[in-house]
């Protein structure tokens, strides 16, 4: 390989400043004494100057299409539900849970109060909860509160009504004042009017976990 060939074989790296040391010294000393190679190098340099580094950049439209297409793909491939969905889902579950606990309380004598405590405290007002628990022992399982209306009755009055109603006809056929009965409904429930959700249901360990999860979520 002649010196000219060797020099021209380095024109690219030379112009891109990719050679140092011995190679650089060689090229520079050759160029100093070889007009032909100097001309060639200058021609290549000016040709490269015509090619801006961003000459192949995408148009705004193309760029937007790429970003949009990739975003679509990620949205489709992401496996977990969005965080807001999880958060609100848990919140809704806790609300339902709180409601159920509110109903469960009077007729589930074996229900340990401390298990249900966090949800009950949030869902049922204190004045309602106390008389309800007292009534549970004599009342047992057989008095569903279908059709009851929310009432602002005091606790003492409510107790009397429960006692008077024990063993009587189902509340929906009774007179309105008996039907209303003690206010066993959680005062802040949003789902009280949905019959399916009012069926008594034991508090599962999952529910407790959901309640705990939503608590932790809310703390964040």
């Amino acid at each position: 390989m002649s010196d000219c060939d060797r020099t021209r074989d380095l024109v690219g790296p030379y112009l891109f400043a990719d050679i140092q040391g011995e190679e650089l010294t060689f090229v520079e000393s050759h160029l100093a004494g070889c007009p032909a190679c100097r001309t060639e190098f200058a021609a290549v340099e000016s040709a490269l100057a015509l090619v801006p580094q961003d000459a192949l950049k995408p148009s705004d439209e193309t760029r937007a299409r790429i970003v949009a297409a990739v975003s679509r793909l990620t949205a489709r491939s992401s496996r977990s539900a969005p965080r807001w969905l999880l958060r609100w889902g848990l919140a809704a579950a806790a609300l339902v849970l709180g409601t159920l606990v509110g109903y469960q309380l009077p007729r589930g004598p074996s229900l340990p109060t401390d298990t249900a405590a966090p949800a009950v405290v949030s869902a049922v007002s204190a004045s309602d909860a106390r008389p309800v628990r007292e009534a549970a022992g004599s009342h047992g399982e057989q008095a569903p509160e279908e059709g009851g209306l929310p009432s602002a009755d005091g606790g003492g009055e409510a107790n009397e009504m429960i006692d008077g109603r024990a063993g009587a006809a189902p509340p929906q056929t009774g007179p309105p004042e008996q039907r209303s009965g003690p206010d066993l409904r959680p005062t802040r429930s949003l789902v009280a009017s949905a019959p399916a959700l009012r069926a008594p249901r034991p508090l599962g360990i999952d529910d407790v976990q959901v309640a705990e999860a939503v608590r932790i979520e809310d703390m964040r």
């Binding site: 074989d9 024109v11 891109f16 090619v51 192949l56 995408p58 148009s59 790429i66 990620t74 496996r79």
Partner: protein, 201 residues
């Protein structure tokens, strides 16, 4: 958190020598849309230029970019924290492009002449027309180069890729890369001069 990633990415995308961005990878692993989107925004131009330079077709370049980003998303959990993302992306992109070229044989020269001005609407006609003309001429010229020379030139010129990395990408020595680069620029000089003298070709 998102802010931290963003700031980091910005700095990283502007500085040519890349460092492993473990935070970004961590965010990608968690499939955080924000993090992924920022990678796409920061790297789309470079990958597109690489793909367009090597493939010569805008549509193929666009497809290649999408492909590369999807691969990133899929591979993120397996990448190590010190993975230099930009280099990794270039490698995936180049492999994809070279595979495409291999699949595409015999080469369809027509595609390399495809005019961008016909496909993209131009809001500022004068500038866009000149830009498009240059792009077309350039792609035509690049299409004349053997694919390895083309890949080396595109990586070096448009991607600002270090020779050492190019050698790794193409699995050859740095000396070979230097040769390829020199042949590429010498040939481009001739091709671009011809194109300038005969703009209608």
């Amino acid at each position: 958190m998102h802010h931290a990633v963003g700031v980091r990415l910005w700095g990283w995308s502007r500085r040519p020598p890349m460092h492993g961005s473990d935070e970004l990878l961590e965010a990608l692993r968690r499939r955080e849309d924000g993090a992924f989107r920022q990678v796409v925004e920061a790297e789309a131009d470079g990958l597109y230029a690489l793909a367009l330079g090597v493939l010569g077709s805008e549509q193929d370049a666009e497809d290649a970019c999408q492909e590369v980003f999807v691969k990133l998303l899929r591979a993120a959990p397996r990448l190590s924290a010190s993975t230099p993302l930009r280099a990794w992306l270039r490698r995936v992109c180049l492999n994809h492009c070279l595979d495409q070229l291999r699949r595409r044989r015999p080469r369809r020269r027509v595609e390399l002449l495809e005019s961008s001005s016909l496909r993209s609407p131009s809001p500022t006609p004068q500038d866009r027309a000149e830009e498009a003309e240059l792009q077309t001429a350039l792609r035509h010229a690049l299409g004349e180069l053997p694919e390895r020379q083309r890949a080396v030139f595109v990586l070096r010129h448009f991607g600002d890729t270090p020779l050492k990395e190019i050698a790794g990408q193409l699995r050859c020595s740095e000396g070979t890369v230097k040769s390829h680069l020199s042949r590429a620029v010498s040939k481009l000089r001739v091709l671009l001069r011809e194109l300038r003298e005969e703009p209608e070709v």
